[in-house]
Symmetry: C2
DNA sequence: CGGGATCCGATAGGATACTG
DNA sequence: CAGTATCCTATCGGATCCCG
């Protein structure tokens, strides 16, 4: 479902699909966590969607799921080795954000200010 | 529409929303291009969606649109200065892809091979 | 607790025209 | 050429209930 002629599309689909960044970020910052903890951290996500995304991340090898058979059951999620290899990438992303997000905001303001005459 | 507790979500929304990577990549690799050229390069995108994404990228200041009033009209798109600042990020992404995409594939295979007993 | 099952509405995005 | 307009579908994601 990606777009050709772009070698990074596959990675983007894997790493930057919906909700994956908050999940990976949370796991990276706060370490191993249980399902409810993740749900509370991310706040706006529903259990259903969280499960979907966690399964996908687990399948892609970015996250490790550990099941503890007990009563009540306990399941913990943590970043895998492979997931950790994304850290520098995320760091650079954060750096870009800090450096250039203001410019984006300004660009938007000026774009919205000029009432797009669709030419010129 | 982003998720809290994750400082890079805003950037992801801007840079890695659907179709933006192929568009930015194409413009970056092949330089200034007209609408149809982009459409042909990306192949699977429809004119409507291409317009939407280009407008968004233009609004965010990542792409510059130049309108040449002539018959037939000519419109050209190119990466902006701000868009160019993403280059190292894309390079690192490509690098990560080359280094780790194989592991993702293997993880998927092994996940699919084991018929998920949902415990263990 | 950690989900799965089901229903359901919103919306992104494809297909197919048509125009300045 | 560079889009816009219209229609229509598919997928996403929210809400709710339930189960081991």
């Amino acid at each position: 479902m990606a777009a050709q002629a772009c070698p990074i599309s596959p990675v983007v689909d894997i790493v930057f699909s919906r909700w994956t960044t908050p999940i990976l970020w949370t796991l990276h910052e706060l370490g191993r966590q249980r399902f409810v903890e993740l749900q509370r951290r991310i706040e706006t996500i529903t259990p259903k969607v969280l499960t979907q995304r966690l399964r996908q991340l687990e399948r892609d090898g970015l996250v490790v799921r550990t099941y503890h058979p007990s009563v009540p059951p306990r399941v913990e999620y943590e970043i895998s080795e492979l997931g950790l290899s994304l850290a520098p990438l995320f760091a650079q992303l954060a750096h870009w954000a800090e450096a250039h997000l203001g410019e984006v905001d300004r660009a938007r303001s000026s774009y919205d200010a000029a009432g797009r005459p669709l030419s010129s």
